[in-house]
Structures are given as structure tokens and as C-alpha cells.
Symmetry: C2
Subunit: 238 residues, 2 copies
DNA sequence: TGCAAACTTGCACGTAGTGTAAAAGCGTGA
DNA sequence: TCACGCTTTTACACTACGTGCAAGTTTGCA
């Protein structure tokens, strides 16, 4: 078994180089998060991260274009989970349902834990905004791509507005749910808190699907209002 | 006319200092835009801008935190027009209608001209993304503030999600309309093009109000579809 | 084993952004 | 008109960022 030939699927057996790169990348983000914990946002340099990760400053910049980017990779990893799930949904499913289903994967301790910590650590200062906004926008672009694939071939001209607006709104609502959840529960990752997050994500998508009619939601945090007819909650994927 | 006393309304007669500051600020953005025209994005430094504006490098940084920020002030000025209009709308009007009405002010040559040029000049390169995203997010925060004022006093707890999601979606849809318009018409500021923009903004809000039902809009660019029935015009908000 | 490609590293360079203190400009009252 | 405070501009110095480059080192493969 001397390294299976890279015939078609190269993702199967990662070569030594790829493993090293992945390990280094991980070491950098770990070091960055550690320094964030220890010194607080904005109180450490790229050189500090490199030193903590056991690499040179120059190598750090080979992996990330800035210290912010190193931390934002956590956000990227988080959002990629949702995108990954979104791509698995059937193409004929309504986008909002697909989005809601994909977002459910985010209410998982493994997924949110790094993000929750990052968020609580950077909450007090707007030093994160730059790259974090870009991460969300990158996710928006992914949703846009998925949405366009689904409508592709039809006309692809008149639907531009629809796709752009839909992708942006879905992201905004997902972001809104995350923000409300963070502001409510802080770093709480208990099952009850995660259930709350799940409900917020469902409610946010329901608001979007209902065109924001009615100035306020009447549902208490746990009430089964939202999904009733619109959402595909029946999939016992838990 | 020896400088009317600054009794209560100080905005009436701007002092010499304020005029100077405003002029300097304007000179900087003009210089930045000029350099962008001449050299292209990313091919000039903060010192270049300062020199072109007739000030020192240090003074430039007293006004803007980066070269991007100087250019993004154009975006800020553009979006502030909409926010200004939004605050003038009656408080009992449904948010989506207020938003649509406010957005109409953007389809004005005076307002969009700087933005259109900025956009065409930076379109080819992602060098703008950083600060431009922040400008839109700042606008989102303003919309959020307006929305919260309208619902204030009721409960202000359960509606957090509603307000966050609404503000974000409104911005996303406005942004989508602008993007589609730019990609369609480029720097075209003709009346027909502006009418197209107006229609796109209306359609975007209509999509939002209709919960993105129906995978695609059937309306041709000029058809009077939008406001007629699709929008959440049932004013008596539940 | 040896070669080619990929990766890391140190060095140097220009630029970004900020603190500080002196200089210039502005407002005001005598 | 002048002199006194406050604000703004400016020059200088300094740290950190981000990148090009030319070595050195590791990995893949024959």
C-alpha cells in the first residue's frame, strides 16, 4: 500500500504533505485561540502566533493573510458545516427548507463550541468585525452558488435578483439567530441552550418564509409554532 | 454678522473650524477617488492621498483609519441617505414599506453617481470588500435601531430575533438590488437605468414581503408587478 | 539513490497605523 | 489689537504588517 495512486479521487488518502499542512494549519489556529484566551483581542502579534505554533513568522503568512484571518478560520469552519449540509439537500426542495435543514447541523456542541468561545472572547471589542463579516459574506456566496445551480438553465437572467436577495436574506437570518442566541445564553452549550438555538434558527427561517408579517412573533421560545407545515422537521436525522 | 451665538442649534452656522474640517474631509475623498481613477485600486498609498489632498500623512489618519475607509466614506454617504429617509417615515408604517420608500431615494443620479463610479472602478478586484462590507453592516445597525424604536416598549425581548432578522434581510435585499443593477447596467445613469434600479429595489422588497415564494419572478424589468398586491400592504399590522 | 517539486525559513523592504510633542490656526474676551 | 486657551496640523519615531526573494529543507517519485 505505497500511497494509492492519485487516479481520480485524491481526497481518500491524504499524502504526508497534506497531513503536515493540515497539522500546521491546526497548530496556528490553536495557537491563535490560545493567545486570544491569554492576552485578549488585539494584544498579540502575528509573530506571537508563529512562535506559539512553532513556525516562523513568514510561514504564518503563508497560511493566513493576517492574525484576524487565523481566527476567522474558526468561523469559516463553522459555516462550512452548514454549506456542506446544504449541498446534500435534494435540488427540488424549496431553498428555505433546505436552508433550515442545513442550519440544524449548527446546533451541535462540536460545531458551535469553538465559535461560542471565539464570540465570547471577542464580544467586548469590535476587533473581529473585519474578517468575521467576510466569513459570513463568503458563506453567502456559497449559498448563492447553490441557489443558482438549482435554478440554472431556466433563464439565469431574470432570477438574478431572486437568487441574490434570497441568499443574502438566508444568511442574514441565520446570523440574526446566532446573534440572539449568543446574547441570550452566552457560552452556554447545555442541551436546553442548544434547543433554544435550534428553535431560533427555525423561527428565523419561518419569519423569512412568512415575509415578516406581524410585527412580532407570538411564540414563546419553546412553542412549536414555526415548523408546523413549512419545515421538514420530520426527518429524524438527530 | 459676527458669528451668531451657539445658543442651542449649533448646526445652523458652522464655525470656521467645522468648515475647514468638512473641506479637508472632502478633499481627502476627492483625492482618493482621483487616485483610484488614475492608478487603479491598490496602486496608491495613504501618503499619495495625503499629498494629493495637500495635507500630511498623519492628518490623513486623523480623518480616516485607512485608505479603504476614505473610499468607503462614499458608500457611507450613499447609505446614509436611505437611513435619513427611513427615519422620516411614520412609525406605524410597516417596516418593509418604510424600507421600500426610503430606498427610492437611492435611485437618484446625485446619490448613486459616486457609488456607481466607485463600484465600476473597484469591481475587478476584491480590494474593496473589507470596508465596504462594514459600511453595509453599519447601515444594517441603523435599520436595526429604527426597527427597535418602533417596537420599543412592547416587550423588547422576544422580538429581538424579529428585529435582527428583519434589519439584516432588508439590507441584504437592498444590496442584492444594487448588485444586480450594477451588473446589468454598469455605470449607466440614464433615466431608464434609474427606473430599472427603482424597479429592482421594489421587486427586492416585494420578494422579501412575499417570503420568497415562487422560485422565480415572472415580471419583466418594467412590468408594474411589484407593489400592487404582493407586498405586505395590509397596513393594520395584526 | 537521485532528481524535481513543494514547503519552510531568514532577510530586506515598503507601507500601515499610532504615540508624542512642538507648531500653526482659530475663538474669545480684555 | 493683542494675548490667552483650545483645537488642529505637522514632523518624527516606532512597532507591526504583508510580501518578494533566494536560499535551505522536506517530500514524492522513478
Amino acid at each position: 500500500m505505497t500511497t494509492s495512486p492519485p487516479t481520480a479521487e485524491a481526497a481518500a488518502v491524504p499524502s504526508r504533505r497534506e497531513l503536515n499542512k493540515a497539522a500546521t494549519r491546526q497548530a496556528i489556529t490553536d495557537a491563535a485561540l490560545g493567545l486570544l484566551r491569554a492576552k485578549g483581542p488585539g494584544n498579540f502579534t502575528a509573530e506571537d502566533i508563529a512562535e506559539a505554533a512553532g513556525i516562523s513568522r513568514r510561514t504564518f503568512f503563508n497560511y493566513f493573510s493576517s492574525t484576524d484571518a487565523a481566527l476567522a478560520s474558526i468561523v469559516h469552519g463553522f459555516l462550512d458545516i452548514a454549506i456542506q449540509q446544504l449541498r446534500l439537500r435534494p435540488a427540488d426542495e424549496p431553498m428555505l427548507e433546505s436552508a433550515q435543514a442545513a442550519l440544524m447541523a449548527l446546533a451541535d456542541p462540536k460545531a458551535v463550541a469553538p465559535l461560542a468561545e471565539l464570540f465570547t472572547l471577542t464580544q467586548q471589542s469590535p476587533l473581529m468585525s473585519h474578517t468575521e463579516l467576510e466569513a459570513w459574506d463568503h458563506c453567502r456566496a456559497q449559498v448563492f452558488a447553490v441557489a443558482r445551480e438549482r435554478v440554472a438553465g431556466n433563464r439565469g437572467e431574470q432570477d438574478d435578483l431572486y437568487i441574490h436577495a434570497l441568499a443574502g436574506s438566508v444568511i442574514s437570518c441565520g446570523k440574526a439567530a446566532m446573534e440572539v442566541w449568543f446574547s441570550r445564553r452566552g457560552p452556554d452549550l447545555s442541551p436546553a441552550s442548544l434547543a433554544d438555538l435550534r428553535q431560533l434558527l427555525i423561527d428565523a427561517m419561518a419569519l423569512l418564509g412568512a415575509g415578516f408579517n406581524g410585527p412580532q412573533l407570538k411564540s414563546t421560545p419553546r412553542s412549536p409554532v414555526s415548523t408546523g407545515s413549512a419545515t421538514p422537521t420530520d426527518s429524524r436525522s438527530s
